[in-house]
């Protein structure tokens, strides 16, 4: 028996040596590798190839499997994280900074003449936390209204030209909502994703989600309640946008950018609220040269929308800080910005590259004569409000639950937002109980007159 044991041990040892010797060398061409955790957008390869061409001393590699804030934080803390990683919101930036994995790049950026003020103002919360810069935005997004010309032509409806109110929009959307022979809705006037409707309507109705200091959630305001109620009415009163049941009945398979975009591309909706980045998918020949148009959103009580995008941050423990910073430098330059605009991966982050003829009229896609719409939407956008005193994922979970209840007509908009505000304020109090640094800052803000998250003094942490 012992001979079997020794033999098996020796065999495994030999095989381990062979495997170690056989593994492909990661730096056999002398190029330093930069690992980028980002989503697997179809245009990402070209963005990487261009960097590798411009900076031959580095090799940028995409790692789409490890995206997601929780994975990035856990891996970076364990010392096996990527060199650079994506960030999608101010909530996420705060979490990355507070967990200590995002590198403060303010001095590094200044040394490379990278001016963060040159990017769209709505993107600042994605890279700037408490006055310090931690990365560079990748792209910029503000919503507008897509419309499918084929659906409009079939209905004999003139194309929208913008400058309309929601009431006017609803009348058009009703005419474009079509039932099939079995009486089921086969085509909707409007489609909008969860994040979009909540952000857009709450912003347009004039609610800021938090007080300016972020010390209290204000979703219990009359404006927020009315905004969410309006969304519920779009589903159940006006019948122009799908309920969760209708949406899941139409649902397609998963994957990057699928779902609502695929449904819109398949003529299941006449109009959809989305971003310019949808073109990354809709330009695909699978959609058969979809005849598209875009106009500004219908006007609500205000015209403002929450803008955003994506940013790339540097891992504080990266072994290739220089390479990571070079990648940020690339994102600030013309090569990246013009490529983003040409690929329609939303809008380029640096504002000046959106004010060129090349942006307005892409010779490869002359049919896209609506690029100015996206730029105007970005100009009208404001940063999505963020509270540093509450965990973003927790807030998302609370909002998702209340959104489900509104979409299922189990609650009115006002009830749902009142409960959401209560739960978010409780989450703020809970966070203050845990984090002494935040608590100190919070009390300073409250002492200066900011409203507290609690209504009764005895609830204060």
């Amino acid at each position: 028996m012992k001979y079997i044991f020794v033999g098996a041990f020796c065999a495994m040892a030999v095989l381990s040596v062979v495997a170690w010797w056989w593994q492909p060398s990661q730096r056999d061409d002398g190029r330093l590798e930069i690992v980028w955790v980002s989503d697997d957008n179809p245009v990402r390869r070209e963005q990487i190839d261009l960097f590798n061409e411009l900076y031959p001393q580095y090799r940028l590699r995409l790692d789409p499997q490890n995206s997601g804030m929780e994975k990035v934080i856990v891996q970076c803390l364990a010392g096996v994280g990527p060199d650079v990683f994506d960030c999608y919101s101010g909530f996420q930036l705060a979490s990355f900074v507070r967990s200590g994995i995002a590198r403060d790049c303010a001095e590094d950026l200044a040394a490379r003449d990278i001016d963060i003020d040159a990017v769209w103002p709505a993107l600042r919360p994605l890279v700037v936390h408490e006055g310090r810069a931690y990365g560079h935005p990748d792209n910029a997004h503000a919503p507008a209204l897509w419309y499918n010309k084929r659906v409009f032509d079939a209905a004999g409806e003139p194309y929208p030209t913008g400058g309309w109110t929601w009431a006017e929009f609803i009348e058009v959307a009703k005419r474009l909502t079509v039932e099939d022979e079995r009486g089921r809705l086969a085509q909707f006037g409007l489609m909008m994703g969860y994040g979009d409707w909540l952000d857009i309507l709450v912003a347009q109705w004039g609610c800021d989600i938090y007080t300016p200091e972020g010390t209290r959630c204000t979703l219990d305001s009359a404006e927020a309640g009315a905004a969410v109620q309006f969304y519920q009415d779009l589903i159940y009163k006006h019948g122009v946008t799908p309920s969760p049941v209708q949406e899941s009945a139409m649902a397609s398979a998963g994957g990057w950018g699928s779902g609502i975009i695929a449904l819109f591309g398949a003529d299941k909706a006449a109009m959809a609220i989305g971003g310019r980045w949808w073109l990354c998918l809709l330009r695909n020949p699978d959609f058969g040269k979809l005849p598209l148009g875009a106009v500004e959103l219908p006007h609500g009580p205000t015209d403002r929308v929450f803008g955003g995008g994506r940013s790339t941050l540097v891992n504080a423990k990266s072994k290739n800080i220089e390479g990571a910073l070079t990648f940020l430098e690339y994102m600030h330059g013309p090569a990246w910005n013009n490529l983003i605009n040409r690929q329609a991966d939303a809008l380029s982050p640096v504002m000046k590259y959106n004010y060129t003829e090349e942006f307005l009229f892409n010779p490869e896609h002359p049919e896209e004569d609506y690029n100015a719409v996206w730029r105007t939407a970005m100009e009208n956008s404001i940063p999505r409000p963020v509270s540093p005193y509450v965990h973003g994922q927790r807030v998302d979970r609370i909002l998702a639950k209340q959104a489900d209840l509104v979409r299922a007509e189990l609650k009115s908009g006002a009830e749902a937002m009142r409960d959401a505000a209560r739960e978010i304020n409780e989450a703020i109090i809970e966070m203050l109980e845990i984090d002494p640094v935040l608590r100190e800052r919070y009390y300073e803000a409250v002492a200066k007159g900011a409203p507290a998250a609690w209504d009764r003094p005895e609830d204060a942490p």
Partner: protein, 319 residues
């Protein structure tokens, strides 16, 4: 003497790799999580690590979400008796001496060696409210019966359930009666479990029952049902006991994959189980200490339930 020592050393050499792995990857994390449960460990560097005593446990017992998700976990276990009965039924069928029985056994065991995520996506399509085969069949049957007042369930989009449990309240709520996401997951669980490992255990148990017992029962005039009741069922008691214990453990730990792949814990948190809750607390909100406390409470519940099963179940088996 020397050969005995050599044998002991050889045995230890065989055991050592597994023992080391067990210590590093099982005992270590278990002890670590127990320690973490009494701390405020949070991945945010602004939160200094502190011993909080029973603070996490006190908090979780007063937290509304914990009770809601505990109820979800128990609710999803309601399919367990049906799944066990179905396993036994299938095992009896597949224990027959039929032509091509191996093919049947393989087919029924298929769900167990098919990738879990693939199955979940398949079931998601089956539950499509408009075009899913399940609702197509229900609507067809309703059409035959000329029933127009009843709609087919909307399955994964619905918060309804057969016990009328509330969505945000712990308790029963009017208007919540129906079939919804939780019931959809139960049905899927029954399908998966019926032809799985339990069926194999029963099959093995049945093949071990001495034929003489059936022959004796037959001579005494026992029919098929009497043979099952007085021979098969008592002889399978140890197997059933084992299956019940394992199902309880699996049920209390379950629901994570379904929540992650099919529903993201929704709609409105109705398919969030304790295991998914632990994940969200630990890896989305980074409250590792609190999540560890929930995990240890879950462990304690499983341990107590297993002890109770053992205490009363073994009595039944020995009778």
């Amino acid at each position: 003497m020397r050969s005995k020592r050599t044998a002991v050393i050889t045995a230890l050499c065989f055991l050592l790799p597994n023992f080391l792995g067990f210590c590093v990857f099982t005992v270590g994390p278990v002890v670590f999580s127990l320690t973490a449960a009494f701390s405020n460990w949070n991945l945010m560097k602004t939160v200094p690590l502190q011993f909080v005593g029973l603070g996490n446990f006190v908090k979780l017992f007063t937290e509304h979400e914990f009770w809601l998700y505990s109820i979800n976990t128990v609710y999803l276990m309601m399919g367990m008796p049906i799944a066990i009965a179905a396993s036994l039924f299938l095992a009896i069928l597949l224990g027959q001496k039929l032509r091509g029985i191996v093919v049947y056994r393989t087919l029924f065991y298929l769900p167990s060696f098919t990738a879990g995520v693939a199955l979940l996506i398949l079931w998601k399509a089956l539950y499509n409210p408009d075009f899913g085969p399940i609702n197509v069949i229900i609507e067809t049957v309703l059409g035959w019966l000329h029933v127009s007042s009843v709609d087919a369930p909307t399955w994964l989009s619905s918060t309804k359930n057969v016990l009328s449990l509330g969505v945000e309240k712990v308790g029963l709520v009017a208007g919540q009666f129906g079939l919804g996401a939780r019931d959809a997951i139960i049905m899927m669980g029954i399908w998966t479990a019926a032809g799985g490992g339990n069926m194999l255990l029963y099959l093995a148990g049945i093949s071990n029952i001495p034929q003489e017992l059936y022959e004796a029962a037959s001579i005494d005039g026992a029919g098929k049902w009497a043979q099952f009741r007085h021979v098969t069922w008592p002889q399978l008691a140890p197997t059933t006991f084992f299956i019940v214990i394992m199902s309880f453990i699996g049920g209390l730990q379950g629901g994570f994959e379904q929540a992650r792949v099919m529903t993201m814990g929704g709609p409105a948190g109705t398919t969030t189980t304790l295991s998914y809750y632990i994940y969200t607390k630990a890896f989305e909100e980074f409250q590792i200490g609190y999540a560890s406390a929930v995990a240890w409470v879950l462990f304690t519940v499983i341990f107590v339930v297993t002890l109770v099963n053992w205490r009363f179940g073994s009595q039944y088996v020995n009778e």
